[in-house]
């Protein structure tokens, strides 16, 4: 819970849950909703959207990507802010939509207008909602992976760490090469599985070296990749989206963990 701020009163946030959260881990979406509501915003999720279009864009299918971008732009008209619990999808909306429409002034304007209102979750909490302290508990030694798009397209680095300092019982242990890609890369990980395996194995080794029992990140794709490899190698580290820990809903099984542990 956070103190209510007058600046947030009555402001409407359109949550963009991302397709991976929608399909695989709704708890990340609800953690995000909780964080935003605690900060005093009213949250809504429009029906008319599915995915930001990144899979098409990164595979060179610009036409299809633009179709999805238009769908997102339409669906999120009118919200004061759009918040995304992912640096990767956030980066697509914030930095790439306007590139996609470089030959279409009208849509490019709309894309830029949306980009101006769109925020990655942790950055939104720090820089717009100005959340200073959260009241969450998590007992564990945690290491945080910087997902590439968030880090390099949106400058997300300090924000999640600052927020995590407010979680009682949590000890942060930085890993080596925390800014190096985990090997997910969207369709990369299935197109080049052997290279991806080497990259994620390096990451797992760095995680293991910290002695942490929990891995956090701000992007579900990277987390599914790293959790999957940690489990395959039998490394007992739990993986959560950072929003879940900040919102204090760690009673949900960690990524890839079943009901019976």
């Amino acid at each position: 819970m956070t103190e209510n701020r007058s600046s947030s009163a009555g402001k409407r946030v359109g949550l963009f849950p991302t397709c991976l959260v929608d399909l695989f881990r709704p708890s990340v979406g609800f953690a995000t909703v909780k964080l935003l509501e605690d900060a005093g915003y009213s949250v809504d999720v429009p029906d008319g959207q599915t995915c930001c279009g990144q899979p098409a864009y990164n595979n060179g299918d610009d036409e299809r990507a633009r179709g999805l971008a238009r769908q997102v732009i339409e669906a999120y008209r009118g919200y004061d802010y759009v918040v995304v619990p992912s640096g990767s999808c956030g980066g697509t909306i914030i930095t790439h939509y306007s590139e996609m429409f470089r030959n279409d002034r009208e849509w490019q304007d709309a894309a830029m207008e949306l980009a101006g209102r769109t925020w990655e979750l942790t950055r939104f909490l720090r820089e717009v909602a100005q959340v200073e302290s959260l009241q969450a508990n998590y007992t564990g030694k945690v290491t945080y992976h910087d997902s590439c798009s968030g880090l390099r397209e949106l400058n997300i680095r300090e924000q999640p760490r600052q927020l995590l300092t407010g979680v009682t019982g949590l000890e942060l242990r930085e890993m080596a090469d925390t800014d190096v890609c985990c090997g997910f890369g969207g369709t990369f990980c299935v197109k080049y599985p052997e290279i991806s395996e080497r990259m994620v194995s390096n990451k797992v080794e760095n995680i293991r070296q910290t002695g942490a029992d929990t891995l956090l990140a701000g992007d579900l794709g990277c987390l599914m990749n790293m959790a999957g490899r940690l489990q395959r190698e039998g490394v007992p580290v739990k993986a959560y989206h950072v929003a879940e820990i900040l919102a204090g809903i760690d009673d949900t099984p960690a990524i890839g963990e079943g009901e019976t542990r």
Binding site: F24, P26, G29, F30, L68, G185, G258, T260
Partner: protein
């Protein structure tokens, strides 16, 4: 150089299983990254200088015709010869022609990537002339009959053990059996062999790091001094350089030199930075009698007219590959042509063609670390994405990707249908995986589950749950 980029996947998978290579790569990566980071820690102007470097290059490229003419005039005015090579073949013919004219029997070479680009060694040897690489790394791979695997450290893929063995075979005719030597011993041994080659050389061939339009000078940067022995000792010096190496003025070259050394090896300046302006003049104690510069186009002017012009800013520092997690996993040979890593994945399709290089732009997670270290701010990920788009438009994308995108796109553009169908699918998958929470194999997902478990979905989708929450009026 003949490209094997079409076999990227096979190349990469072989590299991943090569233990010696993996050892060499692991060692090299940390060295380069740490040294560069240290150099910039002590250099707060770095960010400003990067922007400055970018501007210098952008300006030059926008007026390249002007500066090239200027450069030609200046070289001629100082008694040098300028040759224009539009293609690889022309470059080879020009250079072999000069060597023949001087009845050269032995040629020494400083490291030149443009030379690799046009397969210069092969051409020289075919003409019955001995070509000796004098850069240690380049010398090692010449003995091993391999192409370079890195643009500034061509033999970075070799371990000390492998180099000792190579030297045993070539220097001692195998009389020494795999004597593992320390690095200084190896260097001294090569130096001894190369010394006599330098003295016997008829023509010295080097690359150039920068060409200065204002004075007709070229800059040559090395850490071993071999470049200087190559161009000062023989009577003829031939330099080969891409036309993008041009800069307007001396101070531009000096700004870029500051970026180059720090980005490449973390040095404030390379050990030897030499400026060459024409042949030996009256009263000069040494230097070549003749100076030739071969300006290589080989597809570069084609890039000037589109977004790939940005790639021509490249000063060949190698930082992008040193920081690329894909390059660190597979090494340079997997990329199959002269230029590896992120810069190569852009350049090779430009030079060799989209068709034989399909994997290169795709074998990248677009993580952006390369762009963040590039001293001239080349947006490598965007250029790679642009190449993917060109592949898509040219119909070069495989059926499975095309179909996959088609089916996914059909649903993704119909949110109602998408939410309904994904709701069913996830419920099924969630139920199957609920107890264990993950799958170690799944039909059609072998590429994922071959090396990692696949997390099961929680069951209901976010949209279903959100709808429930709204309907229950919470």
């Amino acid at each position: 150089m003949k490209s094997t980029a079409h076999a990227f996947k096979a190349n990469a998978n072989r590299a991943l299983k090569d233990d010696q290579l993996q050892q060499a790569l692991a060692k090299a990566k940390d060295g380069f990254v740490l040294k560069r980071a240290k150099a910039f820690e002590h250099y707060p102007e770095f960010e400003r200088l990067r922007e400055h470097g970018k501007r210098i290059k952008d300006h030059t490229l926008a007026h390249l015709d002007h500066y090239l003419e200027r450069f030609e005039e200046q070289v001629k005015a100082r008694g040098g010869h300028v040759h224009w090579a539009e293609t690889e073949q022309e470059a080879r013919e020009i250079i072999v022609g000069i060597c023949r004219k001087h009845k050269a029997r032995s040629v020494t070479k400083g490291k030149t990537m443009a030379g690799e680009e046009v397969s210069l060694n092969e051409a020289i040897e075919e003409a019955g002339i001995e070509a000796v690489e004098t850069d240690l790394g380049e010398y090692i791979i010449q003995l091993a009959k391999e192409p370079p695997s890195h643009i500034i450290a061509p033999a970075v893929h070799k371990t000390r053990q492998q180099i000792s063995e190579l030297f045993d075979t070539h220097h001692h005719k195998g009389a020494l059996k795999a004597k593992l030597r320390e690095v200084p011993e190896l260097v001294n041994e090569a130096r001894g062999v190369l010394r006599s080659k330098f003295l016997a050389s008829d023509v010295g061939i080097t690359g150039a790091n920068f060409l200065v339009a204002e004075t007709g000078s070229m800059f040559l940067v090395t850490n071993e001094g071999n470049g200087d022995l190559t161009h000062t000792l023989p009577p003829v010096h031939i330099a080969i350089a891409g036309i993008e190496k041009l800069v307007p003025r001396m101070e531009d070259a000096s700004a870029l030199l500051r970026l180059l050394a720090r980005s490449a090896t973390g040095q404030d300046a390379s050990c030897y930075t030499t400026m060459v302006t024409g042949p030996k003049r009256e009263g000069d104690p040494d230097g070549p009698e003749e100076f030739h510069i071969v300006l290589l186009d080989n597809g570069r002017t084609r890039m000037l007219g589109n977004q790939f012009r940005e790639m021509l800013r490249c000063i060949r520092c190698g930082a992008c590959m040193n920081h690329c997690p894909v390059y660190s996993a597979i090494g340079g040979h997997a990329y199959g042509w002269v230029y590896p890593g992120p810069m190569g994945s852009v350049l090779t399709p430009m030079f060799v063609g989209l068709d034989g290089t399909k994997d290169l732009p795709n074998a990248c997670t677009l993580n952006g670390r390369c762009q963040s270290v590039c001293p001239v701010k080349i947006p490598l990920p965007s250029l790679l994405r642009d190449l993917r788009q060109q592949q898509f438009e040219a119909g070069l994308v495989g059926k499975s990707t095309r179909w996959g995108l088609g089916i996914w796109g059909f649903f993704a553009r119909r949110p109602g249908l998408y939410h309904w169908a994904s709701g069913l699918g996830m419920r099924l998958l969630g139920r199957l995986g609920r107890r264990r929470g993950r799958f170690s194999s799944l039909p059609m997902a072998g590429a994922w589950t071959g090396s990692r478990d696949f997390p099961a979905p929680q069951g209901k989708t976010f949209h279903q749950l959100w709808k429930q929450r709204k309907e229950s009026g919470q």
